[in-house]
């Protein structure tokens, strides 16, 4: 039987009909009404109705950025949307007449990769989504781990530098301020501004404004500042994974997210840093560090599967 998975992003809502093998039968897109969060449930319902038309759909799984409660019904707090205690499950379920499960988007991605992507055959997984920030998902004994109140796996918000850079979460020195796409760009900008002689290629490519794509392209062309920014990203990724391995001893890490389009520029170095910084190294097996396989659809597919096994 089929389920529908929905991934609510900051700019678009993407949805798909997914079968029990994780195959996407049909997809549809909507723009996210980001300035009208009260309309998001309606947008989701709309795209679900379109996809459900003429099909036998068992349930709907919805991935959304934010702290989702332990009953998987309510988004308690979303940093990038104006939701506070938003009863998303009830709203959508009422509109579409189907069972609905809400899940944190990084959890949904982690689950998609676990079931149908890089995590197949693994039962203890730490999944990292390295995009503008760092999202996390944990799979223990083959099940998604949500913690006591559904808010586990905010991996990007371990503090790694005391009194470090300010973070969107209100704290300072969080991991995602040093090991995310934003961190990569920030580091490259700082070096380019202060040491332009090391950033000739980058400044040539970027014109006025340095973004991630220019840093990646410049690094590929040998730009010293861009390579230094990737090296910093890699070292911090490795350090944070070593911290997580000390705590969780996973069988593997899965690293995905937009920054991984440039994984050739940092992943090997991140592995080395991880190995060097792992507590007890030499006396324990090393977990694999794998690239995610499902790309942008991981969250949708994962949400659909979570709805199936709700």
């Amino acid at each position: 039987m089929l389920t529908i998975g929905v991934d609510i992003g900051g700019t678009k809502v993407s949805a798909g009909v997914v079968d029990e093998n994780g195959a996407i039968v049909e997809q549809a897109l909507r723009k996210t009404p980001a300035d009208r969060p009260d309309l998001i449930a309606e947008t989701v319902a709309d795209v679900v109705r379109e996809l459900a038309e003429g099909r036998d759909i068992e349930a709907v799984g919805v991935g959304a950025a934010g702290f989702v409660d332990e009953s998987r019904s309510v988004v308690r707090f979303a940093p990038n949307l104006a939701w506070r205690e938003e009863p998303l499950q009830k709203k959508i379920s009422g509109m579409v007449g189907l069972p609905v499960v809400i899940e944190n988007d990084a959890n949904a991605m982690a689950w998609g990769e676990t079931r149908f992507g890089a995590g197949r055959g693994q039962s203890h997984i730490v999944c990292l989504t390295v995009g503008t920030g760092i999202g996390g998902g944990l799979v223990f004994d083959g099940a998604l781990f949500r913690g006591h109140w559904g808010m586990a796996a905010e991996l990007g918000h371990m503090q790694v530098v005391p009194d470090g850079r300010p973070c969107g979460c209100g704290q300072r020195g969080c991991w995602e301020q040093y090991a995310s796409g934003n961190a990569l760009v920030m580091e490259a900008r700082l070096i380019a501004e202060e040491q332009p002689e090391r950033a000739g290629i980058l400044l040539g490519l970027a014109g006025g404004k340095i973004e991630g794509e220019e840093v990646t392209e410049a690094a590929r062309q040998g730009d010293e500042a861009s390579l230094a920014a990737f090296a910093s990203l890699a070292d911090w990724l490795g350090q944070g994974m070593a911290d997580l391995a000390a705590i969780l001893d996973p069988g593997c890490f899965i690293v995905g997210g937009g920054v991984c389009r440039a994984s050739d520029l940092f992943l090997d170095r991140a592995r080395e840093a991880f190995t060097r910084r792992l507590t007890g190294r030499g006396h324990r097996p090393l977990p694999e560090i794998r690239l995610a396989e499902l790309g942008a659809n991981a969250g949708m597919v994962g949400a659909a599967d979570l709805a199936r096994h709700r």
Copy 2:
């Protein structure tokens, strides 16, 4: 039916016959032959035989400091004893003719507290043993969490200060270098050496050598240096717990270990630091931070119960 729990410490081996309610029926002690690790199994067998005499014993649980493998049979590496790939289960089982389960000592303590101590009624627990270092135990969904290779919960070895103090694990900047009994004493010694005018009471009490007891007593008498050392301990404890809550979202923390005899000197401040440093604070429930209840017997009782439910 009864089981026997054994706790192998650096100086003594303590064992007890434990019933299904966690009650200790009888206890016995041996000195740890610390310089002859090859004799430890024999010592354990000896005390087990004594206790088992005339009783119907179902199984034996043994808690030992070190990395225990996922089959709970072999101590792969013990930082304080000369064990490397020590097949402790096979050895002891062969000597006593009973089923034997080996467990990391901090895990055994965590389990003891979970079943019969401060963790009763909780299913998602982070347990900290704050002694010379920091030991950790994790309970998820009511079961001890061991990770993929049995080495999870080395909580004291998250890095909290980049390039910080050297740690016994070979890395630098580990949490236990800032939030343990050793850290407390080190901080007090540094202040006393450099700013003796703030450490008059402490220096008066300690004579030549400052240890934990003198720091505690001096703090109780208002010694400024000792109070500063406890404040530092509390702030770092709170910060590390905030990191763990970001990752694990536990329902409660249990804090035990020798340093907790002075919990009145740091636990309230640690709670405040935790609350202040928690990511997403204000939008999520706060886990309780509870004192351990079973004291020095937690490990023995936990090991015995793990043997029962092996």
Copy 3:
């Protein structure tokens, strides 16, 4: 008798005829040919000829950003212009037929303030020019201190954070990365990006791009992020001045530069931080921390006076 002072800035060359009391008799301006550093000497000569016309001029003093050699003739290295071993004195002197003295621009400003501004009556002065970076000038026993090779007083390049932010000088963690106008803007931008709810006023004022003026105006209107950025600036200014006082024990500090137009937003707090962080505080007199008085003309007037007393 009169001398001419010239201040070569990144965008304009400003020159003035100055009498022995530091009074400016006449002024003139030229655009700096920043992309043609070989033409700068000519530009200076041109404006000097214009001002010298019909006057009896004794000598010319020129302030320029860069490392000036101990004979005050050659700019060995200029971070912002393409000069390397530029024989500026010889060039200009040859063109205008007058004695010429070259001086580092921050030194010239320090001397101007010492002779005719905030430093009158003081003989041991540390002068800070807080603009995009931090420039420094030292006056000991009433004379400008140049060090052995003429390169002293690069005060902005003390390291204050190990492995800190990259600096234009090629090192990391330099003071000017934490206590300059650039640092102020960078801190405000980081907070605004990560914690926009604290930066509502600033984001409203700045539109797309946050610069120093918006941070200042927003701070005046109570913007939390902007006030935090000024607080950070103040604390780091105070800390660095405390370091300099440990080394140099000056009778006073003079703080000038563009950021001081907002001195009401940070100077009192900087004084407090200085006092709190001063080694031996309580057992030594406190140097005054004064605002510069001559504004943008300090460098020109200082250079003119250095030419008089060459």
Copy 4:
């Protein structure tokens, strides 16, 4: 004509009759009455009288640890003795009937080295005395630099690590907490305690208590922990000298003090670290870094010469 130099140390008062070439004609010693600071002046007077007997003495120079006022008469504050506003010059002069000059002990050493030791022929010198802490002396234009109130050159108290190790001066993170003999021993002790497998030689030599001599000897024998401690000392020495060069641009550094008996174990590395961390490197001459030459007598000889040229 002859003068007498006196060096008041924590354990002994050493004095000598010195000629105009810095040659010591005769020496004498007394124990420092450290617990009776009121008796120190008398002890100094006593040894001066002994040495002056039958000689024509022009004046007496006295070096003492502490903040000496700008008139070189009063010790305002001594961290290691109970002096506060101690009128040492008046007391001693009254007892011996000779002109007396008081000087900070590190200043006296710097002056001794400048006139008769490693600093001959140099006019801009930064002198470091690396012992339990770091003492400093500055020579500019061939004269001792005292600052406005006589308290300059407290070089050990620049902050190099924000919120770092507590310092005897009441602040945190001071240079001498990272680059002194005490820092060397502290670092070696920490590594030996936490990573004893790297400190086998050191622990074998030291028995119970690790002190500087054991660290030096163990490093010579290849002990890994001791070598790491010397490497850390060297890197921090180099960094601090780079900071001082940015500010003062000296023609040379002189490095002395007890730790220099092991200069073969750190000085080359300190030079490399200095060169790597110097702002503007590649565009400026490098000051020499020289070893002190006068050993333990530098302070006495310097004080005697300061008395001659009072």
